[in-house]
């Protein structure tokens, strides 16, 4: 089914180019699941040598300022570009925004190869082959197999893949503070559970950066 609906969302170009260049037809829905581990649909895409895309919506949005909705395209099962339709960011930055704890709702779609050609020309949205498995799924083995499956002309993209996404994550002070705050609360509630409340440092948490 190719109904021409711009389902993935990147109907307008974040780089200000031709709004049509990122248009991707809806394609055929292969599966729609809520998964705790995003490695599962990435495995499926790799095994099927998927030509198409995935939409990824984190169900836990606590660590984000708003909702995130990701689109990841695949060529022969290998991720090519990443886009966040909520923030309009693409590439490593979008990858960083989507790298939050699961579960996620993931839908996989197949499209005609020609339908992705224009979108895949958007250099700013591209990511290194193994970076989605590394940063989203925390799956080094899957990342290695994905790199191995990537065409020869993409092998040089893997040198320090993920470094840009990590740099983007580290620059997001609000998100890092949210992770820290959540960890502090969790540490305190687990301490109570384990009978370690008396061992807690009562001054901890009142000083932001020691």
């Amino acid at each position: 089914m190719t109904d021409g609906t711009d389902r993935p969302g990147p109907d307008r170009s974040p780089s200000g180019g031709d709004p049509q260049e990122l248009h991707i037809p809806r394609g055929t829905l292969l599966r729609s699941r809520v998964v705790s581990d995003v490695a599962t649909p990435l495995e499926t895409a790799l095994e099927r040598s998927l030509i198409g895309y995935a939409t990824i919506v984190p169900q836990e949005t606590l660590l984000l300022s708003g909702e995130a909705r990701g689109v990841i395209t695949f060529e022969e099962g290998v991720p090519v570009l990443v886009y966040n339709t909520v923030t309009d960011n693409g590439g490593p930055e979008a990858l960083a925004e989507l790298a939050v704890p699961g579960p996620y709702r993931v839908e996989l779609y197949a499209v005609e190869a020609a339908a992705l050609t224009a979108a895949h020309g958007a250099e700013a949205l591209r990511v290194a082959p193994g970076s989605v498995a590394t940063e989203l799924a925390d799956a080094p083995d899957l990342a290695e197999r994905t790199r191995a499956a990537a065409p020869a002309d993409r092998h040089d993209e893997g040198g320090h893949e993920g470094a840009d996404a990590l740099a983007s994550f580290l620059a997001d002070d609000d998100r890092i503070e949210a992770i820290r705050e959540q960890a502090r609360e969790e540490a305190r509630s687990r301490a109570a559970e384990w009978g370690l409340t008396d061992a807690l440092d009562t001054t901890a948490g009142t000083v932001e950066d020691r």
Binding site: A99, T134, E135, A167, A171, I179, A199, D201
Partner: protein
């Protein structure tokens, strides 16, 4: 006694045990170092230190009612004192994690630096005890978003118990690292100790049952670990005071 460090990561597979032994060997040039496998549920330090057949381990020390002396579970290896932990489920189930406090207190009286190879995840009381008991943590992290997220979590857990970060050690680094180091630095209480390159040397050392610094002392990774140890500002402490603190650490005896 100078200082006890928990070597922690927040997730598995970061090379924590390799790092613990590498830092231990590097620090042993200047200090009397004791390395303890405090990952009582998933011990693996014994395999890295050629102690697969150790007859007495930390598990034996943690079982109530046994008269085992700490010295019986302490082995001189590679210039360090090494306290391995057994790998049997029965040993883990019989062990009382809270007794780790007494073991550490006893070791503290007779060594300069204690490195506690800590459990990867912070999901249980026994897993969190090393960071409760340590003076400071060394956090081992891979340069990925999931690993850094977990490292931040470890830092906050440790701080909740008054245990500050002594340094962050990046492992399995590929390619450019300066930007990552610079941006990581401000989020942690201690300095970036080093970026240890991804290499086969560590895997080969593990297969050989030797610490990296003994197996491939001139490898790039070994050089990076020695640099990390140099940057770790081991603080002078009063041995008796530290031993006292461990003995009286407010840790209830019942789970």
């Amino acid at each position: 006694m100078v200082e006890a460090f928990a070597v922690a990561s927040g997730k598995g597979g970061t090379g924590k045990t390799t790092s613990t032994l590498a830092l231990g060997m590097a620090l042993s040039a200047d200090y009397d170092v004791t390395v303890v496998d405090a990952d009582t549920g998933m011990a693996n330090l014994l395999f890295h230190a050629g102690l697969d057949d150790a007859p007495v381990t930390l598990h034996d020390l943690l079982i109530e009612g046994t008269a085992t002396d700490v010295s019986e579970a302490t082995y001189d290896r590679f210039g360090m004192s090494v306290v391995p932990c057994g790998t049997s489920l029965a040993g883990f189930e019989a062990a009382d994690p809270v007794r780790l406090r007494d073991v550490v207190a006893e070791l503290a009286a007779d060594t300069d630096v204690i490195l506690l190879d800590s459990p990867a995840a912070l999901g249980s009381k026994s897993a969190v005890l090393p960071i409760v008991l340590a003076d400071r943590t060394v956090i081992v992290v891979e340069p990925t978003i999931p690993a850094l997220s977990d490292a931040l979590k470890v830092q906050e857990y440790a701080r909740s118990y008054g245990t500050e970060t002594a340094g962050v050690l990046f492992n399995k680094v590929r390619g450019e690292f300066d930007t990552i180091a610079e941006r990581t630095d401000r989020h942690f209480g201690g300095p970036i100790l080093a970026g240890v390159p991804d290499s086969d040397a560590a895997r080969e050392a593990r297969r050989a049952g030797k610490p990296l610094l003994a197996h491939a002392p001139e490898s790039e990774a070994a050089v990076a670990y020695r640099r990390a140890a140099d940057r770790l500002d081991v603080r002078d402490g009063d041995g008796d005071r530290v031993a006292d603190r461990f003995s009286s650490a407010v840790v209830p005896d019942t789970p």
